[in-house]
Symmetry: C2
Subunit: 498 residues, 2 copies
Amino acid sequence: MGSRQRHRAWLRSGWIPALALAGVVLGRAGSALASAGSAGHEDPFAGILFALALVVTSALLGRWLAARLGMASVVGELVIGVAVGNALYQLGDPLAVVLMHSGTVNDVVREAWLSGRSIAQAAQQVMGDEKLVPGTPGAQVIALLGGPDGPRLFMLMTALWIFSSFGVILLLFLVGLESTIEGMLQVGGRAAAVAAVGIAAPFALGWATSLWLLPDEAATTHLFHGAALTATSVGITARVFKDLGRLQSDEARVILGAAVIDDVLGLVILAIVVGIVATGRVELDAIARIALLSAAFLGAVLWLGEGLARRVVRLFAALERSQVKLLMPLVFGFLLAWAANEIGLASIVGAFAAGLVLRDELFEDAGSEARTLHEMLAPLESIFAPVFFVLMGMQVDLGHFREPATLALGGAFVAAAIAGKLAVGLAAGPGVDKLSIGIGMVPRGEVGLIFASIGKSLGVIDDAVFSAVVLMVITTTLVAPVGLGWSLRRGTGAGAAS
Amino acid sequence: MGSRQRHRAWLRSGWIPALALAGVVLGRAGSALASAGSAGHEDPFAGILFALALVVTSALLGRWLAARLGMASVVGELVIGVAVGNALYQLGDPLAVVLMHSGTVNDVVREAWLSGRSIAQAAQQVMGDEKLVPGTPGAQVIALLGGPDGPRLFMLMTALWIFSSFGVILLLFLVGLESTIEGMLQVGGRAAAVAAVGIAAPFALGWATSLWLLPDEAATTHLFHGAALTATSVGITARVFKDLGRLQSDEARVILGAAVIDDVLGLVILAIVVGIVATGRVELDAIARIALLSAAFLGAVLWLGEGLARRVVRLFAALERSQVKLLMPLVFGFLLAWAANEIGLASIVGAFAAGLVLRDELFEDAGSEARTLHEMLAPLESIFAPVFFVLMGMQVDLGHFREPATLALGGAFVAAAIAGKLAVGLAAGPGVDKLSIGIGMVPRGEVGLIFASIGKSLGVIDDAVFSAVVLMVITTTLVAPVGLGWSLRRGTGAGAAS
């Protein structure tokens, strides 16, 4: 996996070389012994643990770097993923190659399985001959996949995908947990107006940009590009205000309220757009049906969810009091995520809704655990969510940025994304710093990435555009803390209400 | 997945039918809508979450039942796995069918992948024509696997295997965490003698039983059967004494000390036996080499491990103080598990060694987290370890017990396992209740199951013998609490030291 290069490049500390040396010695010694035939019982899970350890350590290094540069942690995880993924990809590391083309790999394996043909034949079917000319990335992927190490690489890739999917589910569940139904209903018209403009303006700008720069793409692709610009990241926004000690300001409350509404609206929009992609064309009755279904699901969860949760808590408490605050939320979140997917929504919508429903008070009579739900579940998220972001970064092929078209597209998306969110200041009403609210809405963070990855898995967003969207997410997330810091300091002296 | 049947059979409570009804309605509604084509973007991870939720809930139900019957939790998880797995298997549930034959499934998929042929052709190669006659379980598995749902089923099976492997690693890591190097060195000659007899006697009896009842099997198979009887479960033993309020008695301390030594010796024996299986014959120099390698690895970890751990703790604390007590132990455990596997030991040996090395004091200067390592990591284990035991139970094909030969073999293993451990009383020395110490060493628990599953994955233990070994594990684990309770109450009045 080349952990040595990774560490040395990123941290000039005495510990890293020492640790790396130990790793090299251990690894080499192990390989030598294993190939000498003395032992050689292979547990395939050991490789998965090694990959997981490296991804978690990389995430930590990324977060450390981000903290040193005053950036949000998520930026560090993404950037280290991009750096490590592309470095290993250039070095021809098999796992990095397979991860960079995970969508293609899944398609080819599925085709080979269902058609009963070999990997090479399935690749011709899926990718076409021109993408398999010797020397192309496609040929490299298929050579690895069809080789003797193919099953192991696929298993490693699948395991990382499983841990990363687990991470997003837990992340959205915790975001939901940090929000409450009451909090969402309390944020008045001001937050709602900001949220509405914050959805509509970036969507329109993103859609127009896509139409303008990619005239040959399908209508669904333009819709997806518009939708990918709508999200606001509650986590990043909140952390920026917290870092600046302004969490209780009017601006912070309006932004956080709007961001919560935005999150839900964005997910509904995602469901709508995904539904349109699935049916292949813009069907107004399908939109209405999906919107109704989404509303019905969320409505049912919000209105009936608490009653259901109470019953499930009591059931789990009757089964085992000591574990109730850990296992009940997880099972509840998993089942709502599954139910959302069954109904046609994204599974993360279900996880978010489950988090929204659950509150510590529901557990007051059930069990002796004094820790809050957040304290119980945050450790799980701490391990798995970074896997999602590092893996996301590892799928950004920097090679795409060599092409001026992609770079131009990325730049245009960045401009549309920032301009669209700055426009929300118009809806913020009097007495607050409109510019700060606009900048505060800019970071896209995890939700934007989730949009991009779903679009990629649906085949609506191709590799080049995916890279452009990730560039947009990284840039907006990097720009916001810097811009907001400047704006708030300026605003304090100029015209802020508080 | 048939969660309805599962719940109703196991718990006559008002909540279960209510929850089940909600599940049915939601599930059916979802299917109807999805098949109506209104939505239909499928996230394959949603099915994994559903399966995980059901497995965790089943584990809870099993533990609840076990608690009601005064049994150890692990027995409940196993038994519910056996019950649910066999019920769903009889009903023809696709996932249960695939899980019951997971070894065959992996072999066939691997063969199909590497040979470039179809699932059906690979199955003929791997299983032979006679196991694929229509109507046999083999034909059923291959029909499912080669069908349109094959990739999804394989993915589900793989995901559950990944979570379950993660669970065993965490379990052994926590068992290691509960033991200390000092504690192991302090237990004197008495515990060591008990441990030695507790390994030698069951090994000899198991080996002799295997030779006697299975005369046609290879020498390696007899060795594996002997090795599978050697382990003692620290967790179960400790919990039985704790439940009876006798954790501080002389008997408890001797048993716990011996069980810790037993655990390590048992794992070394596993490594030796696995090495012999890998080389195909009994090679004395290979045994010596593996024994040396095991000793060197464990020695290095025990002598140098603390220094290494200190450095890694300082490194992680420098990167991010708030997460150090969560992420450092996990990464350290993962890397030692991987290193152990690279060297030829089982990865669980590495995880156990990592747990042995880590202590809360190592983290005193690093970070503000007041919780103990055990408190930080136990929640993770609570979710994933039960997946291992429930899945283990689901792989027990009760159909094997219809064959008198398997039943006789299981009975003989039970007799050998109990007699072998009762013999340790002879080595316990004066002043303690010899019978209680013997009975206290009887439960095999998780370690015996790990032996069986490794033997199965190596192809040394076939399905029928696997079922016999699981019968032995279940029986010894069930018998011990009852027998120990009786023996200790008798011993208090008769001749115990304290």
